[in-house]
């Protein structure tokens, strides 16, 4: 079930303009547009934090090696206001997650969206097109 994939995201996805607006730091400083990333893995922890929440995901590569990735999303308040609840992302939840890797080469990334086992696709806390995302 845990397939490790490092797939370039089709540039068209950027056309969705799903971009974080609830920032408290420069995203382009921390993350690298040249390093798109898409992984399938299991949630080990969801940290409901502000101004950004974090999803910790464990993935297993083809050689069976376990890697732990930290994914930054929009803030917990934005997720809460959109109806996300803690039970959505309990440890063990399988998901596909995509975004951009950190410039410093660490196993850290900025999440654009997640795909849950039931087929729901959730954007990572904020969408550029939703101007008042944090207040909804």
């Amino acid at each position: 079930m845990r397939v490790f994939r490092l797939a370039g995201i089709v540039l068209g996805m950027l056309g969705l303009a799903v971009l974080p607006v609830i920032a408290h730091h420069s995203f382009s400083a921390e993350f690298d547009s040249a390093k798109p990333l898409k992984l399938t893995g299991k949630v080990t922890e969801m940290r409901w934090a502000n101004p950004h929440a974090w999803i910790y995901v464990e993935v297993v590569d083809k050689a069976g090696k376990v890697e732990k990735w930290a994914w930054e999303t929009g803030g917990a308040n934005a997720l809460y206001r959109r109806g996300w609840r803690k039970e959505d992302l309990v440890a063990g939840t399988l998901l596909v997650i995509d975004g951009f890797q950190a410039r410093n080469g660490s196993k850290t990334a900025n999440a654009v969206s997640i795909l849950l086992p039931d087929g729901r696709r959730l954007f990572a806390g904020s969408s550029f097109q939703n101007k008042s995302a944090e207040a909804k």
């Binding site: 607006v21 730091h25 420069s26 382009s28 921390e30 950004h52 809460y80 951009f100 950190a102 909804k136």
Partner: protein, 529 residues
């Protein structure tokens, strides 16, 4: 005899025949003599500070390093810990220099925030009681409007719902996390904590503060602390103590920007010749005509109260019009003067703004360190705010844990050498427009995430004009002779939201800054010494 006892005696003598029974008990508030709000509740407004050693240790304690001896405030002590918790408390005490959440400048929680030896100000409206604290710009809202508490979410500062029982304000504080302590001595709780606070005005200058603490995971029974809060009659405003900012400036983690920081009164600003600004260049703008009925207070002034969020249109990533740049959203541009929509930066500032966009400068944005956003940035960061209009003030509470308390009594600005992150704001009504003038900025804030520049020499004039029941037209004119060639003005709508504020515990949960620091350090190493 304390004045309130004299008052009690006087009232009892006068009304002895009618109220014999009530006068025979311990001194109770002299109801007739208490200051009251327009709706008849005891008026708790003003600046208060604890008068006890509770912040060091809630129980009787001998002196330790950095901790004076003191009497405890537990009315039914000792604190009834379960055995495991008693051991944990001792461990906390032994490790307090590093383990105390306050040693890391974290949010203190309730009740601890109430008895830190820092002043706070209470503002009272019929629906909300707001408390703004000197300690790191923390604020609390006590909802007295009957709105239900949110479920499925917890807060460092808990969730506070209040009601009046006679002349006592009773507040249920729930939805705590398990990461705050009660004092420096390591007294602690779990997330099962429930606190019931009681605020009783004993006389004009004294509130009796009581908090009953219940936590079945940690204690064997509920227990209560009680202490007086004393009115600070020596000051008419709260200043600031930005705990983390001061710590990082002291240890070098946050570095001085010599071009913008206030250098002290002995270094008057040398205004570059590029500044040609004058008031004539920014004539007073005509406020927009209302497009619908606006709400009004009892005295006829516009009622701006409620939960709001600015539609800054990407202003936090550039005040001028700009396109998407990777993860930085586009902006529609909110600069309305100069007419070209561009910030009229001096040449050095243009270069600085290009430099601040480099990845290695991302670390230098104060909000990346979770410091407050400053003025005017705190108004257009994409984060909600609550506006209250208690008598004599406009109060703005920002979800990103900072506040602005703006007196409307015509007082002058602070002396020029007193500089603050949020500056010193004073306000006045001009027709239906609230005009706020801000000076005394410390020059440490950035205008946004991409590093548009603001210096300590800046003065900001904001204009808030309601255009209908749910919209405020916001303008800010910035005059900064060290950075720009002339004053400039931004304009944007601030829209009513239905949701209450939540809490952004930025510093407590932040995991971004180390990454930004790595990028900066790597860039510096590459460049060499």
């Amino acid at each position: 005899m304390p004045s309130y006892l004299r008052a009690v005696t006087a009232v009892c003598s006068l009304t002895l025949l009618a109220f014999t029974a009530s006068c025979s008990r311990r001194p109770t508030p002299t109801a007739a003599l208490l200051p009251r709000t327009a709706d008849g509740k005891p008026d708790l407004q003003g600046i208060w500070q604890v008068r006890s050693r509770a912040s060091y240790d809630l129980e009787d304690h001998v002196a330790r390093a950095g901790m004076p001896a003191g009497k405890g405030v537990v009315t039914d002590g000792p604190i009834p810990y379960q055995p495991w918790a008693a051991a944990k408390k001792l461990e906390n005490a032994a490790n307090r220099h590093s383990a105390d959440p306050l040693a890391r400048c974290y949010l203190p929680g309730v009740p601890r925030i109430m008895y830190l030896e820092f002043p706070f100000q209470i503002f009272q409206t019929p629906d909300h009681i707001a408390i703004t604290f000197e300690w790191t710009q923390v604020h609390r809202t006590i909802y007295t409007n009957g709105a239900p508490a949110p479920v499925g979410i917890d807060f460092w500062m808990g969730d506070s719902r209040g009601r009046w029982e006679g002349d006592t304000l009773v507040v249920d504080v729930s939805s705590h996390n398990d990461r705050t302590w009660f004092d420096m001595a390591g007294n602690f709780h779990s997330e099962a904590l429930k606190v019931v606070e009681r605020y009783t005005l004993l006389d004009t200058n004294t509130i009796q503060y009581e908090a009953t603490i219940e936590d079945p995971k940690v204690f064997t029974r509920p227990w209560t602390i009680r202490m007086p809060l004393e009115r600070r009659t020596d000051t008419d405003r709260i200043f600031e103590y930005q705990c983390q900012a001061e710590a990082e400036e002291a240890n070098g983690a946050f570095e001085r920007d010599p071009m913008t920081w206030y250098p002290g009164p002995s270094h008057p600003p040398q205004i570059p010749a590029e500044w040609t600004g004058s008031a004539a260049q920014t004539p007073a703008r005509t406020p927009p005509a209302p497009t619908g009925a606006i709400k009004r207070m009892a005295d006829g002034t516009p009622n701006l109260q409620g939960y709001f969020m600015a539609d800054g249109g990407g202003a936090n990533y550039g005040l001028g019009k700009h396109e998407v740049d990777f993860l930085t959203p586009a902006g529609r541009g909110i600069v309305v003067d100069p007419p070209d929509g561009l910030l009229p930066a001096q040449s050095w500032a243009k270069t600085e703004m290009v430099n601040r966009k480099l990845p290695e400068r991302g670390y230098d944005d104060p909000t990346a360190h979770c410091f407050v956003a400053g003025v005017p940035r705190s108004m257009y960061v994409p984060s909600p705010m609550q506006i209250l209009q208690p008598p004599g003030y406009l109060v703005i509470l920002h979800e990103r844990m900072s506040w602005r308390t703006i007196p409307l009594d015509g007082r002058p600005h602070l002396p020029d050498h007193l500089r603050l992150w949020q500056g010193d704001s004073v306000g006045r009504w001009e027709g239906d427009t609230l005009v706020i003038e801000t000076a005394n900025l410390n020059g440490k804030a950035w205008l946004n995430e991409v590093g548009e520049v603001l210096s300590h020499a800046a003065r900001v004039v904001e204009r808030l004009t309601p255009t209908d029941a749910d919209t405020i037209h916001y303008e800010a004119t910035v005059s900064d002779p060290l950075v720009y060639t002339r004053p400039w003005t931004i304009a944007l709508p601030i829209n009513r939201q239905k949701d209450e504020l939540l809490e952004v515990a930025c510093l407590e949960d932040d995991q971004d800054l180390p990454h930004l620091k790595d990028i900066r350090d790597a860039a510096r190493a590459k460049k060499g010494p």
